[in-house]
Amino acid sequence: MHLPAERNESLTKKNFPPTHFAYLKESVLSPRLSISGFATTARLLFTACIVILSTLVPALAEQPEPSPKPDIYRLTDIFQPQSRPAELIMEPTYLVLLICFGIFAVVVAVLVYVLIKFRPRGPQDHLEEPPQVYGSYNIEMAWTVIPCLIVFVLVLVSSRSIVEIQDQPMPEDAIKIRLIGHQWWWEVQYPDLGITTANEIHVPVSSKNGPPRPTHLFLESADVIHSFWVPQLAGKTDLVPNRLNHTWVEPYKTGVFVGNCAEYCGTQHANMLLRVIVQTPEDFEKWAVNQKQLPTEPQDALAIQGKKDFYALSCVNCHKIDASPAEGVFGPDLTKFAVRQTLGAGVALNTPENLHDWLLSPDSLKPGCYMPDMKLSPQQLSSLVAYLQTLK
């Protein structure tokens, strides 16, 4: 499994901007502005505000050449849906936005008109009381009935849309995923395929023209309430303990879609990130086949030593590796750990350096997380890193 090469480095913890000042400059002039859609407009608008505020740059840099289509969508812009449920959400959304902007324009226009027309005029003006008008049946009736009409339309449209999205029937051949929320990581199971992984959901791409290929997710929680939210693919659905919730995605584009846990779930709620990796059916098939196989045996001495260390240490109490003494269920399944893109539910990229830092002190990378500091010696660290890298 390849890692998307683009801008991966920005995800590593070592990529903090050297100073905030420099960071500001970088962000203002960043080529990322080229991504189209609402995000650009909003970002341009606010970037412009910052430029004015801080007078850092003489003028906003001209729009750079559009960069090649990125295949990792970290801009979780809800106005750029890439999946059927997210697109269905847009139907009532545009309607309500339209109505609200209309009302806003009318009322603000009236307000401004009133403020100008009836402003105080001259020093003697305040000596006279205006005509005392108590009310009007006509106009009050009008502004009761018109909102009623609007509400009526909105109710009809939202009801249709709710049923359409929520009660979507599941086709027989849909990919089924059991997604279990833990404090603070995601357990992903494919019951039909016999796969267990963590923090990354692989789904096949669907197409608008061909037969639909939806993926249905069954949401559960092992501890507290979490919420599944990948804005470009689907709206939120909570993962509630003692309850089976359901949602679905049907993406139209391959790539990596980023999401977050959207229900406050404790200390590390912020770093409970989720990635949905949308692949072509062939890639998905390849991935699934590989997931079902046992991990490759370590070849070099360091990794073999790491395997021994892994079994000897208490790692096995919490983590699971297929066909090994590691049978733990409290932490993520590590059978195919090296295939995954990130560590610690998206807190850092899965690189040897980051893995080293993570094992050295999980708490400094993800303060408050339940992975304990194992007080590993430098030898153990390097051997474990070597071993874990082999779990492909």
């Binding site: 008008v133 009007s136 006509n138 009008a142 449209v157």
Partner: protein, 273 residues
């Protein structure tokens, strides 16, 4: 403002200041604070709380304790330098709710219902002649709220659908009645002599325009299948019939010479009218 019945008192009775409520409150908070610290504090809280309530009880029983405060000079009588700019006295009455005539609600309801029937007949006729089914327009209307109809085929749309029928009747009826209510407000404001044109044709045209712009969000199925000329004819039929009924029911006086704001009733008509 002056209460003629009250004699001139020299003193006013007001409740005496007392410390018991704060003591009771403090006892209560100790009681709770003990649960997060030490149960000794809860115990203390119970004692303080009981003492507070007991003292409080004695404050009000058998009679609430009062003490007398001597009265001061009464405040200046209220005057103002402002004069009132009157509404036109006579024509509409001065200082009243505007407009004076209250439009009869029932006329609007009646107009809405009759208009709704007229519109439904026309729409069903269209469905019958074009697709051979009077249920076609009914289903199309209810597709705004019923997703199964929103994605249905031509044939399915021609079938009778109970849920669709119910939704269509409710939505058509309530929207029509609301528009009827708007008509009783609207009609008096329209230019005289051409009410039938403004109310019966222009207004339906305007809302048809709104619908044309937004229909693909409100009712995508209707947007796909609708026959716009017929649609507009139906709207105009509604406008004409509803406006006619409202007019028949209550010949409302139009307020031709008034400004728009005065017609709306949010501003007073000033000049001769």
């Amino acid at each position: 403002m002056i209460n003629p019945d009250s004699e001139d008192p020299k003193f006013v009775e007001i409740p005496e200041p007392t410390g018991w409520p704060i003591i009771a409150a403090f006892g209560l908070v100790l009681l709770f604070a003990g649960l997060v610290t030490s149960f000794f504090i809860t115990f203390l809280g119970v004692l303080v709380c009981l003492a507070g309530f007991a003292g409080w009880f004695l404050d009000v029983f058998p009679h609430p304790k009062h003490y007398a405060v001597p009265l001061e000079e009464a405040p200046e009588p209220h005057t103002t330098a402002r004069s009132i700019k009157y509404l036109k006295i006579g024509h509409l009455g001065h200082r009243m709710r505007l407009p004076v005539e209250v439009p009869p609600l029932m006329a609007g309801v009646k107009g809405g219902i009759v208009g709704a029937v007229a519109m439904a007949i026309l729409a069903c006729a269209w469905g019958f002649f074009k697709y051979g089914s009077i249920w076609y327009p009914v289903n199309l209307l209810s597709a705004a709220a019923v997703p199964s109809l929103a994605e249905a085929s031509q044939a399915a749309l021609s079938q009778f659908n109970l849920l669709g029928f119910i939704v269509a009747v409710i939505s058509h009826g309530s929207v029509s009645i609301m528009i009827g209510l708007l008509y009783i407000v609207l009609l008096p404001m329209l230019p005289a002599k051409f009410e039938w044109f403004w109310g019966g044709i222009m207004t339906p045209l305007i809302w048809s325009g709104f619908l044309f712009a937004t229909i693909r969000f409100i009712n995508p199925a209707l947007a796909v299948h609708v026959d716009w000329p017929w649609f507009i004819v139906c709207q105009v039929a509604f406008g004409m019939v509803c406006g006619f009924v409202v007019f028949k029911e209550e010949k409302v006086e139009t307020m031709q010479s008034l400004t728009l704001a005065a017609k709306l009733g949010i501003e007073a008509p000033e000049e001769n009218s």
